[in-house]
């Protein structure tokens, strides 16, 4: 980890840039797919970019009671998400920055982002803000362990918690059926639905106050702050998709730092993301939003599956 190769640095930076730039596109793609699946003509792939430009252009309106915490949070949020994106190997595994944080630290970073946003939501002291914060944290304390368990399963398989190494070992392994990974995959899907404020747990498109979670938290944001928050949200979605890809479909991610591999990895990534987005849209279309009180059961199931995955691994595969 100590010697830093140029190719690695380039890969690292391109990957980060790619994540930041592609993230809104992924969001747009998902929304578009959902619109198609619901026989609507969608707003178009690039709508998120337009939205961001519009928001950046506007004045920021901040409530009277807002403290400095409220204003700094969007930047911190965005920073955390960038870090997360920098850690997850998407194109290649030779990432100089990857050793900085392993899977557990990744979960930590995501948790930091969540806590920051929740605190900011409570800062103004509105009914909806605090309500959203509470619900978000509830989902957090149910989803986070599940995510951790999923990552544990993978790291037990690969005898490491560093994502890059995990991806290398997992992608090099011969094609065998890993029931533990299957369970973990299902659990991961459920977790990422919840974490990214997706149906059935939350509805990103809703404006019915009592049902919303993420939207309730960011209700007081406007202008560039809102833009950053939105961007961070789509980065989050991007990161989660990349984690899923890295854990369950690592094929095609360049080993080490070979340029060809990197070049080939990009289209592979795009394809995988496109499929992932489509699936997400499909799930969102097929399932209905559940009452918030059902969310614990939903996530409990995810947690259970993840633990089951671990047990199965410990029992069958070791």
């Amino acid at each position: 980890m100590t010697e830093i190769s140029w190719s690695g640095t380039i890969a690292q930076l391109t990957e980060l840039a790619l994540a930041i730039l592609l993230a809104p596109l992924l969001t747009g793609w998902v929304n578009q797919c959902r619109a198609w699946l619901q026989n609507k003509s969608g707003p178009g792939l690039l709508r998120p970019y337009r939205l961001l430009r519009k928001l950046f252009g506007k004045d920021a309106v901040i409530a009277h009671g807002a403290s400095a915490l409220f204003r700094t949070t969007p930047y911190v949020l965005f920073g955390c998400m960038c870090m997360a994106a920098a850690i997850v190997p998407t194109l290649g595994t030779d990432l100089p920055y990857a050793p900085v944080a392993d899977a557990i630290a990744l979960v930590g970073i995501l948790a930091l982002a969540r806590a920051a946003l929740a605190l900011a939501a409570m800062d103004i002291g509105t009914a909806f803000g605090t309500l959203g914060a509470r619900r978000e944290m509830m989902i957090g304390f149910l989803a986070e362990p599940a995510l951790l368990m999923v990552l544990f399963t993978a790291s037990l398989l690969s005898q490491t918690t560093s994502l890059a190494t995990t991806v290398e070992t997992l992608s090099q392994r011969d094609l065998a059926i890993y029931p533990s990974l299957a369970f973990a995959g299902v659990a991961f899907t459920m977790v990422s639905l919840a974490e990214n404020a997706r149906i059935p747990v939350d509805n990103p498109a809703t404006h019915l106050e009592l049902t919303m979670i993420h939207e309730a938290m960011v209700l007081e944001y406007s202008g560039r702050h809102l833009a950053l928050v939105e961007w961070a949200a789509s980065l989050k979605l991007f990161v989660y998709s990349c984690i899923g890809i890295a854990l369950f479909f690592p094929f095609g991610i360049a080993q080490g730092g070979d340029a060809i591999g990197l070049l080939l990895a990009l289209p592979a990534l795009v394809v995988k993301l496109a499929i992932g987005g489509l699936l997400l849209a499909l799930i969102e279309t097929l399932s209905a939003k559940m009452r918030i009180f059902r969310a614990p059961e939903f996530l409990g199931t995810a947690f259970l599956l993840a633990v089951l995955a671990l047990l199965i691994h410990a029992f069958l595969e070791s």
Partner: protein, 667 residues
């Protein structure tokens, strides 16, 4: 000539004792006590810490003082383990004392001078507990610690619940102490020699070793507050003045951990695997129990007290894990788990004392402990708020602060358990890891509740408007501890290298080999390919990106920032009462973990004129365990009392019967 660190440490203890005595000179002069004595005590704490840091790298020093019993004079000894905990004591005590210098003020209850007496006696006894090297001096200092802290807890003794808390605390402490005494009695193995050296030398039969271990677990557990001996903790910690709560929670609980380590790894040579599993299970229960209960508290200090229970649970989990590894002779892993344990001891000491002190400032500024009556203090007391934010994020186990590091190490240790020879254990461990993860995530929830309700939002009471920020002494104290949290968070490698001395002494293995091989920036406990973590780079990364974004946004879009009333979906009549309360924050947890609680709800009727909602959450264990014991004792005393009905003939009958029985026995 250079004075040996042991004597230096003893001098520090003596200084604390002297300060304690000086406090009584002018018991009511706040200037003398607070502005002179407490800062002096803080300096002594720093001295102790530096001494300990010197001593930790040195071979053990031992000495004998001509005090104590004629056959058993005071044996004292400083080795890596005690040095580590002494460093903890010294640094934390420095911060707390400085804070207390600003916190102490005249009022009802015990006079400042007397508080100073007990406070420094408390510090000195803790230092001596860590230095003790025979059973007698250990017990003496151990109980002195308990008594002095009891008097501190009840320093505002006019409130009945505080007296009750103190009573419960001292009772549990005393019973625990009896268990510890019995444990030493077992450890000396019939030799009658109660020095720790003799105990190290004596080799016990497995049965007796187990007995000693279990007694130690009970006795020290009673002090540490593990299930089911935790009942005193949520009562005593809130009752005490905040600096004392901080010390008790940060240091005193750790002395119990120290005792546990001392007995298990030093006085007993061989461990048995199920010892560790027992501790592991108890620790897990304690951790989950503690965090779940702290999530539903509505009193800020009780909340912190329960979170202390949680952290002790985590520490005991690490301890159990290391015992298991050590029993299987997997020394590297034992060292890893032990490192996590010790690291967490240190972390908890810092962030928990920081938070307790912050609640102290809030308490002084607002005279209010109930979360339901606080809020929005970040505007009125920015210093306390921002420093407390550090503590809150740290205790929530978020990178790049210190709480996360120990959590990370602990989970790493768990990920190695498949190496264990026992498949049955391999099945259990994932459950444990899951529970740990759950506890960690929940603590995040708790801290958002804690911080958000106290410091953020709008003031829930008008009085809060005139809350004032903490004074300069208090700020220094808080800042010291906050800096500690950050430093421990971003420089783990350096700290692990210090802890290595301890693990080397206890389990004969260090992580040095691997950490030395790795970069000074990267914490890679076993090998870099397996796992690595560099909080410093992470912090730098986050900061850089954040700054870049900020500058970029500033450069490209220099839109103005307008202030306006809160939007809140256009609802105009927004009041502070509409914010989510502490009870509201408790609701999801109460729902998800219903079986944990013994709840009484009082819901308003739909058309209630003055609707009021009340929910009280209690602990089952009190009714399942303690109440029955109390009943049994009560019944026994009733039985015994019937012996004495006041009738002289009956009394004569007793003597007569005794005489006859003895005569029959005699012939």
């Amino acid at each position: 000539m250079s004075v040996s660190p042991l004597h230096a440490a003893l001098y520090v203890a003596a200084v604390w004792l002297a300060i304690a005595a000086l406090g009584v000179v002018a018991p009511h002069s706040v200037r003398w006590v607070a502005r002179v004595l407490f800062p002096a005590g803080a300096l002594a704490g720093l001295g102790l810490a530096s001494i300990a840091l010197v001593a930790i790298a040195q071979p053990p020093h031992a000495t004998v003082l001509p005090l104590g019993l004629p056959d058993l004079p005071f044996h004292l000894r400083i080795d890596a383990l005690s040095a580590f905990f002494l460093a903890l004591l010294g640094t934390v005590a420095a911060g707390v004392s400085i804070f207390a210098a600003g916190y102490i003020r005249p009022g009802a209850g015990t006079a400042p001078g007397v508080q100073c007496l007990w406070y420094h006696l408390f510090l000195a006894s803790m230092a001596l507990v860590l230095l003790a090297d025979d059973a007698y001096v250990f017990m003496v200092t151990w109980e002195t610690m308990a008594v002095s802290s009891f008097f501190l807890v009840t320093s505002d003794h006019r409130l009945p619940e505080i007296r009750r808390a103190g009573y419960l605390y001292l009772l549990v402490a005393h019973i625990g102490a009896l268990a510890i005494l019995l444990c030493f009695g077992v450890l000396q193995g019939g030799t009658g020699d109660y020095t720790f050296d003799a105990m190290r030398a004596s080799s016990l039969a497995p049965f007796w070793a187990t007995a000693a271990y279990l007694l130690a677990l009970f006795g020290f557990g009673a002090k540490a507050g593990i299930l089911p001996l935790h009942v005193w903790l949520p009562e005593a910690h809130p009752a005490a003045p905040s600096p004392v709560s901080a010390l008790m929670s940060a240091v005193m609980l750790k002395t119990a951990i120290y005792g546990l380590l001392r007995v298990t790894f030093d006085l007993l040579h061989t461990q048995v695997w199920w010892w560790g599993v027992t501790a592991l299970a108890i620790g897990l229960l304690t951790a989950v129990f503690g965090v779940v209960f702290s999530a539903v508290q509505t009193d800020m200090k009780r909340l912190l007290a329960y979170s202390s229970i949680e952290n002790i649970g985590l520490i005991v989990v690490g301890f159990g894990l290391s015992v298991t590894f050590a029993a299987y002779r997997m020394d590297v892993l034992a060292a890893l788990a032990l490192t996590a344990t010790l690291y967490h001891c240190l972390n908890h000491a810092y962030f928990k004392s920081l938070l307790f002190l912050a609640t102290g400032s809030v308490l002084h500024a607002t005279k209010e402990r109930a979360l339901g009556k606080l809020g929005g203090l970040i505007h009125r007391m920015p210093w306390v708020a921002w420093l407390a934010l550090v503590g809150a994020l740290a205790i929530a186990g978020l990178p790049p602060l210190n709480g996360f590091v120990s959590e990370w190490l602990l989970l790493q240790a768990f990920l190695f358990t498949p190496g264990l020879p026992d498949t049955y254990l391999n099945m259990l461990i994932p459950i444990a890891a899951a529970a740990i993860a759950l506890a960690a995530a929940l603590s995040g929830y708790v801290m958002v509740k804690f911080y958000g309700v106290i410091f953020l939002g709008r003031p829930r009471e008008e009085r809060l408007a005139e809350a004032h920020d903490a004074g300069v002494w208090e700020r220094i104290g808080l800042a010291w501890l906050a800096v500690g949290c950050v430093a421990l968070g971003v420089l783990p490698v350096q700290l692990v290298r210090i802890i290595d001395f301890v693990t080397g002494a206890l389990v004969g293995q260090t992580l040095a080999g691997v950490t030395a091989a790795s970069h000074w920036l990267f914490l890679a406990p076993v090998n870099p390919a397996r796992a690595s973590y560099s909080p410093l780079l992470l912090l730098v990364g986050i900061v850089i990106v954040t700054l870049l974004v900020w500058l970029g946004v500033r450069r490209l879009y220099h839109g103005r920032v307008r202030r306006a009333p809160a939007w809140d979906c256009g609802f105009p009549l927004l009041t502070a009462r509409m914010q989510d309360t502490a009870e509201g924050f408790g609701q999801p947890v109460r729902q998800v973990f219903e079986p944990f609680f013994r709840m009484e709800r009082e819901l308003p009727a739909p058309f209630d004129a003055a609707p009021r909602y009340r929910v009280t959450v209690e602990d089952h264990l009190w009714y399942w365990l303690y109440a029955p014991i109390a009943r049994v004792v009560e019944r026994l005393t009733g039985l015994v009392a019937t012996l004495q009905r006041g009738r002289i003939s009956v009394y004569l009958m007793y003597s007569f019967a005794t005489l006859l029985v003895l005569l029959l026995l005699a012939r």
